[in-house]
């Protein structure tokens, strides 16, 4: 991502979030020759980007149209939910120990997890927002304000769903987070 002038009005926060994660794992914008297997030496910044990166926020914060939200609302019992999670993320069934740990986490409050709220009408992001930054106006101070606000919104991700009780939703989110951060997930995409 080229922001060679270090100007905040030229940042692209959402694209940058994805590029940061990929770059940590050895992606480069220019690829001079096709690569079959990539030998990438490990650094602590790689798991750091997965733990705290913006992309992980987007993946683990349950908004109204997050697949896990829909799954959590529709599933009939805790066991089925846990099995679905493991199948979708790790492509395998949970071991007996994993199953009992996850069920222990998600059982309290499971039966009362639905709040009964209907999905809040999605606030559409306008196709052409009334004020946006382009090359022609990026030197104006307002452009910096707009892009810094974009960065803040990107970091927060979509608003959380109101259809699940917050305490239970947060436990599901934390389980989701831990599954995504497993070394097994990174090595079995």
């Amino acid at each position: 991502m080229a922001n060679n002038r270090d100007r905040p009005s030229l940042i692209l926060p959402r694209a940058q979030a994805v590029v940061d994660l990929l770059t940590a794992f050895g992606w480069r914008p220019a690829r001079q020759e096709p690569t079959g297997t990539r030998e990438v030496p490990l650094t602590p910044l790689q798991p750091a980007m997965v733990s705290n990166g913006v992309v992980t926020t987007w993946l683990t914060r349950l908004s109204d149209d997050h697949e896990m939200t829909l799954l959590a609302l529709e599933v009939s019992d805790v066991n089925a939910l846990v099995v679905e999670l493991f199948l979708r993320i790790l492509s395998r069934y949970p071991t007996a120990e994993e199953m009992s740990d996850a069920v222990e986490l998600l059982s309290p409050g499971f039966s009362k997890r639905r709040t009964g709220a209907v999905s809040s009408p999605a606030v559409p992001r306008p196709e052409s927002p009334p004020e946006y930054v382009t090359w022609a106006n990026h030197l104006m101070p307002k452009a910096t304000v707009i892009q810094l606000e974009e960065a803040r919104l990107a970091k927060m991700g979509d608003p959380v769903t109101e259809r699940l009780v917050p305490a239970w939703r947060e436990r599901l989110e934390d389980l989701l987070w831990s599954l995504i951060n497993l070394p097994e997930t990174i090595h079995y995409p």
Binding site: M1, N4, D20, Q46, A48, P141, K155, L175, N181
Partner: protein, 426 residues
């Protein structure tokens, strides 16, 4: 390993040719051109946009933007080094010029586009179709690593940028970045909706899953990295970013956000980071930053004052802590600006002579090195190319300026034929 991955080196070795004659490597390192320095770490201040050398570190006769008379926009002042003058907006640095050297005779031919010039000054080479060259920070991080285990070797205070990237050295020579002193570093800072208690629950879940699950042996090293990253995100390293533990009068001496970034850089070095690049924040002081075309020239003096305050405070702060000789300070920018003013009182781009600055690092400072003509446009004496400047930085940090890096199997000299400035060493 099939035949296609056999390297030229393997083939020649098997043909029985002598190791020394053909393979290079350690044998290619000739005699050192200068005695190597002993600086332990480096702060590189990056002034995005192209700092006008005639208005800062290489002042000439006074000109006038309104009548388009070529020359400096501001009068110059004397410094504590005889015969070396600076712009009047650098009074702090003027008192410290015996610890600073303004290298006034940098030159390159890349002035049409900022991105290309930024890349040139960071990597020392034109772009190549076959490999991506590493930045000077990545080279230093690769060669020396961090001072203490578990700390990143290269940190950028600013935005990520392909010019700062490690290129063929790979992500292990990459950087951690933090966009401003109010936020934490990217990737180590918990999202704000995750409380301490929630973070502990997450980490417990993760460690239970790892014990109960199917972690194969080859995932073990990733697992170790995971543990290290969790430690990095802990208070021990992250405490570095708490600037409010510094005395208030010191924070005030450094000045605004840019000064605070320099203070953060000093703290990072103390914590064991080897190379910190500090970008001058270009939020609101001057819309164009240092790129002073047209009306951008009007508020340039505010930027120069900001630089002066932060740089002089940094030098004095390091000196008072006894670590100025251990710390090389570099002030970089992508090119200079001509003596002539444009139609609206600003300056364009100019690369045939411009100034970059070195301070500290145990070098034999002399205020200024190299001589330009009466308008700072032609080099009269002692030209310094960008590879020469890089070689000076490397030699100051104790890295042999003629060694070779490896892009896969391909040897790449650490600079493009650069020679360190011998007057600054020994």
């Amino acid at each position: 390993m099939d035949v296609n991955t056999q390297t030229r080196r393997d083939f020649l070795l098997r043909s029985g040719m002598g190791l020394g004659a053909v393979v290079g490597g350690a044998n290619a390192l000739g005699q050192l051109p200068v005695p190597l320095g002993r600086a332990r770490h480096c702060i590189m201040i990056w002034l995005g946009g192209g700092m006008a050398h005639i208005d800062t570190f290489d002042p000439k006769r006074l000109g006038d933007p309104k009548t388009r008379l070529a020359g400096s926009a501001y009068p110059s002042i004397a410094t504590n080094v005889p015969d070396v003058r600076l712009s009047e907006h650098l009074p702090g640095c003027a008192k410290l010029m015996d610890r600073i050297t303004a290298v006034r005779t940098l030159h390159h031919n890349v002035i049409d586009e900022h991105a290309l010039a930024v890349l040139r000054v960071h990597t020392g080479r034109p772009t190549s179709g076959t490999i991506q060259y590493p930045s000077i920070g990545s080279i230093v991080a690769h060669e020396l690593g961090a001072l203490y285990r578990g700390v990143p070797a290269y940190v950028v205070v600013g935005y990520p940028n392909v010019a700062r990237d490690p290129g063929f050295l790979g992500p292990s020579s990459g950087y951690l970045y933090v966009t401003d002193t109010d936020s934490g570093p990217n990737g180590l800072t918990r999202p704000m909706y995750v409380s301490e208690g929630r973070q502990q629950r997450r980490e417990k879940l993760l460690s239970n899953l790892r014990i109960a699950g199917l972690e194969a042996a080859r995932m073990k090293s990733y697992g170790e990295m995971l543990e290290r990253s969790l430690r990095l995100a802990g208070p021990d390293f992250m405490g570095v970013f708490q600037l409010d533990t510094e005395p208030a009068d010191l924070r005030q001496a450094y000045g605004g956000e840019f000064g605070q970034r320099c203070l953060l850089a000093r703290r990072l070095l103390e914590r064991g980071v080897r190379f910190v690049e500090v970008a001058h924040n270009l939020n609101f002081t001057n819309g164009t930053g240092w790129d002073t075309h047209f009306e951008g020239q009007e508020k340039q003096h505010l930027l120069i004052r900001e630089l002066d305050q932060a740089l002089s405070t940094l030098i004095v702060d390091l000196e008072q802590r006894g670590s100025l000789d251990d710390t090389l300070i570099v002030v970089g920018t992508e090119f200079g600006r001509p003596a002539q003013f444009d139609a609206r009182g600003g300056r364009g781009h100019y690369g045939r002579a411009f100034s970059l600055v070195l301070a500290g690092g145990g070098l034999r400072h002399r205020g200024a090195y190299g001589v330009t003509d009466e308008l700072g446009m032609k080099i009269v004496d002692s030209p310094v190319s960008v590879p020469d400047f890089h070689a000076t930085i490397l030699a100051c940090l104790g890295i042999h300026p003629q060694k070779e890096l490896y892009a896969g199997d391909r040897p790449v000299p650490v600079t493009d034929g650069g020679r360190p400035i011998s007057a600054l060493f020994g």
